[in-house]
């Protein structure tokens, strides 16, 4: 005999909030990120000194590093919107650093995130300040989760830069000390990414004691952010005692290990 399904129903179950994966993107938006990487353009004959380098100014329909990074982040949003687990679990925050560090997008889940802001490149590279701000925001978010009784996975920090830090040395050293402590205590997952040939990989190595920094191949931001989306989804579904195996093979398509 088929037994009735009315013994208890969905209304009888408690509603616990989804376990969150807090992810902070800490992005270099210094002037060098406006470097032209393709498109239809002409040299104007003018030059300028910015971000510690001399630049040839161009005119036309161009693709830039920052433009490609923005597209990549948009592809991350699109991926997370289509993943039924990560949709409710992932929370993204964006910190940019140039002359100063700024949070341009506080933690939001993908449901509430509009399309990616237009990023603009200007100023120098206050990396230490950016990383410290990102770490402060991650700590604050974890505290909010605890106060609201929301479970969370280990937070993620993605640092992307195309140059070397030019901000306050004390701030940089403080950032390095903090990331090292957190990573060694297994309280943070960090992905340091170098963009282009001028990225200072040695600083990125100092920020990441356990994971070798990766250099983005060409401008494969979209591939990287798609991999990031899949990894967030994998993490969202992990159970207690389960080691989270990220698809590091997937990284090789867009980056190289030093």
């Amino acid at each position: 005999m088929n037994i009735s399904n009315s013994f208890f129903g969905e209304d009888d179950l408690v509603s616990n909030p989804t376990t969150r994966v807090p992810v902070c993107l800490c992005l270099d938006t210094s002037y060098s990120m406006s470097a032209v990487t393709g498109g239809d353009y002409q040299f104007t004959g003018k030059t300028c000194m910015r971000d510690g380098r001399m630049w040839n100014l161009v005119d036309g329909d161009v693709t830039t590093r920052i433009g490609e990074m923005q597209k990549g982040i948009q592809s991350l949003y699109d991926y997370l919107r289509n993943d039924e687990v990560a949709y409710y679990s992932a929370e993204i925050c964006i910190v940019t650093f140039n002359d100063t560090a700024e949070c341009i997008k506080p933690f939001s889940n993908i449901e509430l995130l509009n399309n990616m802001n237009n990023l603009s490149a200007q100023g120098m590279t206050a990396m230490g300040e950016g990383v410290n701000l990102a770490l402060d925001l991650l700590e604050k978010r974890k505290k909010q989760y605890s106060e609201m009784g929301i479970d969370y996975f280990q937070p993620w920090l993605i640092i992307m830069t195309d140059g070397e830090p030019t901000g306050d040395t004390k701030e940089l050293n403080r950032a390095i000390k903090r990331t090292n402590e957190l990573v060694n205590k297994k309280k943070l997952t960090i992905f340091p990414i170098g963009i282009g040939d001028e990225a200072d990989m040695s600083v990125l190595s100092r920020l990441s004691p356990r994971r070798t920094p990766l250099r983005l191949k060409g401008l494969r931001f979209c591939e990287f952010f798609e991999w990031l989306g899949k990894s967030i989804s994998t993490t969202s579904q992990s159970m207690p005692g389960e080691a989270i195996h990220l698809d590091m093979e997937g990284l090789k398509g867009w980056s190289e290990l030093l």
Binding site: N2, S4, S6, D151, Q237, E242
Partner: protein
């Protein structure tokens, strides 16, 4: 007398990747001691389903045979060390036989042991242990997670002894215990408010007044249809309920029947008789028409009685037939 009802369901993520269910439950009654245990194998520990199975059987057997000795040991740390070492010794033997490392057999562990009027509770890791006392649902032991959601403590963890919780005391008016794994927590335990879903009281009551096999079947069917929607994890639960064998609807006196059926105090013997006839007939499933004919009552009046009994969760309907969970 205590009755154990236990259930474990393989999660959809494990069905998908062909991993066996890592949640195991066990119950034993010997020497007037009843012990129930539940263990949730660690996600990536390759043989954790074997470890969970071994841990539940070992701890139940040991507690059943040594309840008084353990209960009367004043220093709880000694009891914790003793219980943990019994479990670990058994796991080490299993590790050797299975040619795997000890940590491959890691699991959480939740245990309730009852002897006469006393209890011992043990808890390592996540999952929840609750109980009822005078119809109030309470939490005896909350989940122990690390800072992050996918962290907890296991039998084989370095700090399992420090994280272990151990309770003992007099049963008093406690009349049921509930053990659940973290998968089941997702629907039955409010993490923010640290309380169990209130309808569990109705479930326990149904086990107390109903035929165990039918109530169990009802529970499992609903569990199987609802839980895969809210979690991909394995889910398991154990109910340990006092005195389930003594209830019988027919043996209730008139006033008790009025109260049991939540009728007005002005209810007449004739009304009660109709309920008697319906409930006795529904010991076997009947359609509305067949039931009406059997008890010689018009369908619309029979239907009203059935609606009331369905609201009280004494009668259910399936495949167009009604049946009762109540013992005759």
């Amino acid at each position: 007398m205590w009755t154990a009802i236990q259930y474990a369901m393989q999660g959809r993520s494990h069905i998908h990747d062909n991993t066996p269910c890592q949640d195991k439950t066990y119950a034993i009654t010997t020497n007037d001691t009843t012990v129930v245990a539940l263990a949730d194998g660690a996600g990536s520990a390759v043989q954790s389903h074997l470890g969970a199975d071994n841990a539940t059987k070992t701890i139940c057997s040991y507690l059943a045979g040594n309840f008084d000795l353990l209960y009367n040991t004043p220093d709880g740390r000694i009891v914790k060390q003793e219980l943990l070492s019994v479990v670990l010794d058994s796991l080490k033997e299993l590790a050797q036989k299975s040619s795997c490392a000890l940590h491959d057999l890691a699991s959480t562990l939740l245990v309730v042991a009852i002897h006469e009027s006393r209890y011992i509770i043990l808890h390592i890791g996540d999952g929840v242990i609750g109980y009822t006392d005078n119809d109030i649902l309470r939490v005896a032991s909350t989940p122990e997670n690390g800072e992050f959601a996918n962290q907890t403590f296991f039998t084989t963890s370095a700090d399992s002894l420090n994280s272990m919780k151990l309770f003992k005391g007099e049963i008093g008016s406690k009349d049921s215990f509930i053990l659940m794994s973290d998968g089941t927590e997702s629907g039955f335990y409010n993490k923010r408010e640290k309380r169990l879903a209130s309808f569990l009281l109705d479930v326990i009551r149904s086990f107390r007044i109903g035929k165990t096999d039918i109530v169990e079947c009802l529970f499992q069917q609903n569990f199987n249809s609802l839980f895969p929607k809210i979690t991909g994890d394995d889910c398991s639960i154990v109910f340990l309920i006092k005195d389930t064998s003594y209830f019988s609807f027919n043996s209730l006196c008139f006033d008790d029947k009025v109260s049991f059926l939540k009728l007005s105090p002005k209810a007449t013997p004739r009304q009660i008789k109709k309920y008697d006839m319906v409930l006795n007939s529904l010991q076997t499933p009947h359609s509305l028409r067949d039931l009406s004919r059997t008890i010689h009552l018009r369908e619309k009046y029979t239907y009203r009685i059935l609606v009331r009994l369905e609201e009280l969760k004494y009668v259910y309907k399936a495949s167009n037939k009604y049946y009762t969970i109540l013992k005759p």
